[in-house]
Symmetry: none
Subunit: 223 residues, 4 copies
DNA sequence: TATGAATGAGATTTCATTCAT
DNA sequence: CATGAATGAAATCTCATTCAT
């Protein structure tokens, strides 16, 4: 069984290698420039081999997206304090996003890819369910939960249909990143991006918060 | 004399025909599926003929974008009341956008195309100048003007760098449309889109308005 | 009849206009870049109109070539002294070519075009007769005459088949120009061209002259 | 191990196949008629496959040119006797060219291609560098060397600037071939071509040789 | 006579994906 | 398991030439 274990481990390692290289390429060159050829070259594998690990190009992208959204969701969850109000939770959410962006730009991958994989998400009538996996769903769920919470405790005003509103929120929150994912690294201005992200999230906070909200929860730290 | 006029008119008609067909195709199938071949077929012209009317594919897209953004800008300007406050102006702006969307979905074309033409806009370090024409610039200018106005009269809180903020605002405002332009018609749900647009704009209004704002200016009519 | 005369004159003028503009374009941009579109634009005529004056693109080029070779032939003939030996005549011939080149680069057009019109000339088995007109023939004839003369008076050694040798001579003499006609003006170095032309002609003179030739007839003036 | 070898060999074979077919097409139809489509058909491969072996069309042409000029240079070098005078070397050079042409028409490919790849060579002001590879340079170098040698030992008269003169010489020497490469095979007369080549080279020899040259070095064998 | 308009035919190149070994 | 090789299907754009008015 030691052999089988090793095989599994190696298989897993290749799998990760491919994903990592693909991510790097996206971050370096932009999604639009990502080709199977490039991924293969970067991984020092043949194109055909890629298909042993992933059904097709989409599967690679989908998994990258899953990883990223999963990482974000987990991180964000861990930073939402026990017993937090909806607004506090939302604040923690955006804070996490900014921090994550500050630490590594991997989150960047998150949504531009989302749009690339399923250009209509989340507006498709079929829900785009076939395309995205669990993690993306969990992320939407988290946001919906936060909105629901805020609706219940009154800290987020005018939230009526949390599930649907979660769509809107996610689209707004990711609008910058959608754009960023298409720019090659050398043409990106990380500082500007950071500022615009923060601005976007503050608009979201103020746009969703109840009137009497604690002002400190409407501002985010510059990274 | 009459003859030349007719020629000009016919030429203009063909020009419009191509643009219209291209728009239809975008609306029907999504920008990603737009090809010169398809435009030619839809226009019942040869591919070569398209090049008599447009320098290249980009020119077609750019003109569609210009038309749409120009239409929006003009319409919005005409609906901003004389002597309006910044917030009132912003309210009128989003109102116009919704109305326009309600009347015809052509505005939809607006931004998905924008992203398609220049995937990094407006975050490019080179400013992406040269790709977009006057109308797109006028639209950004209008938004910046409104923000400046609100900053001056105090109706829009926390606006500090109107030109830059205009970027953020435009990205947020168009995030839905960006998405929509990539969905084929049969998978779009116009009602849902309408709701999400309204929601987005209300978030923007609340997110930018000063604290003591007139509540009626923070809501938008359902179309 | 005054009317008819005027018509004829106007027709002639248009004809010349087109040729002149085409020539200019060739000289400016190189033959390879010559398109009917460009000729039409430069002539301020429509493409279709060009076809009223010339059967096709080839006809334009052929006529330009004819004009140029005719101009050269006439000029050269006028400069061959009465009673000249073959070598003297050949010397006068190349002298004329250089002078002509010095005065205006129009002769340049001469041969590159030749190769462009009929890439195989003068090696085609059908003699390329269908393509070239009288003037080109006259030019070959002139060279053959000179060679014959030199063969008769002994001033040109080893000339045995003047008609055939005329081919070789013309190919050698025009090898530079063939090349030049494909270079746009801004990338041409007229001085270098001039030097290489002279060198080529001196090689031809020495290569064909009898042993005891007057040395002064083996050199050409720098322009 | 044997397997890898075989793969390499097969790859090499395909590579050669494509080159050979392309050469054949050039020889059969003329460079001007050479298209990727035709090469693909002749090789019984798809167009896309061609791009696995060559970066682009130019790369195919360039390699054909390199092969041909390299073959010529090597062959010529091997035929220049130890301790030969400049004139003897030049004689050997042209002899080689003729022999090579007699054996296979590969040399034919040489210059038409050269002119096709870089229409202005060698008269470009930028030197046309980057387009041609090493072999072409070696060929020019060889000629320049021979000229230098003849200048030193006095066997070639009036050679002053060997590098530049090498240009002229190469243009003259290849003028026939330039022409030939553009004629489809069925319209070529190999015998006539052979004669004219010889004539050209003899003119070059006599045109460059010093006065007292050994007459036998001024003549070339008919092939 | 003049022309605006149209086009057929083609050229080069790219990319995700499959398959025999 | 790995891969080299191959390809179908597109996509964008160019140009000489024709024709109805």
């Amino acid at each position: 069984m030691g052999i089988e274990e090793r095989k599994n481990r190696e298989r897993e390692e290749r799998h990760e290698l491919i994903l990592r290289k693909a991510k790097d390429l996206i971050l370096d060159l932009g999604v639009d420039a990502l080709t199977m050829q490039e991924i293969a070259a970067a991984s020092e594998l043949s194109k055909a081999t890629l298909y042993l690990y992933f059904r097709n190009k989409d599967a690679i992208l989908t998994e990258i997206l899953e990883d990223a959204s999963s990482a974000f969701t987990d991180y964000a969850k861990s930073r939402i304090p026990e017993g937090a109000s909806g607004l506090m939770a939302l604040h923690a959410l955006w804070s996490s996003y900014l921090t994550l962006y500050g630490e590594s730009q991997d989150v960047v991958v998150l949504t531009g890819i989302k749009n690339y994989i399923d250009p209509g998400f989340p507006l498709n009538m079929d829900g785009g369910n076939g395309k995205f996996g669990a993690a993306m769903g969990k992320m939407m769920e988290l946001i919906a939960d936060v909105l629901r919470l805020g609706m219940a405790d009154g800290s987020l005003a005018r939230v009526k249909a949390p599930e649907r509103l979660a769509h809107t929120v996610i689209m707004i929150a990711t609008s910058i990143i959608d754009t960023v994912t298409r720019i090659p690294r050398h043409r990106r201005d990380p500082h500007l991006i950071s500022i615009e992200m923060r601005e976007t999230f503050e608009i979201l906070l103020r746009g969703l918060a109840a009137e009497n909200a604690d002002p400190s929860l409407l501002k985010l730290m510059a990274q």
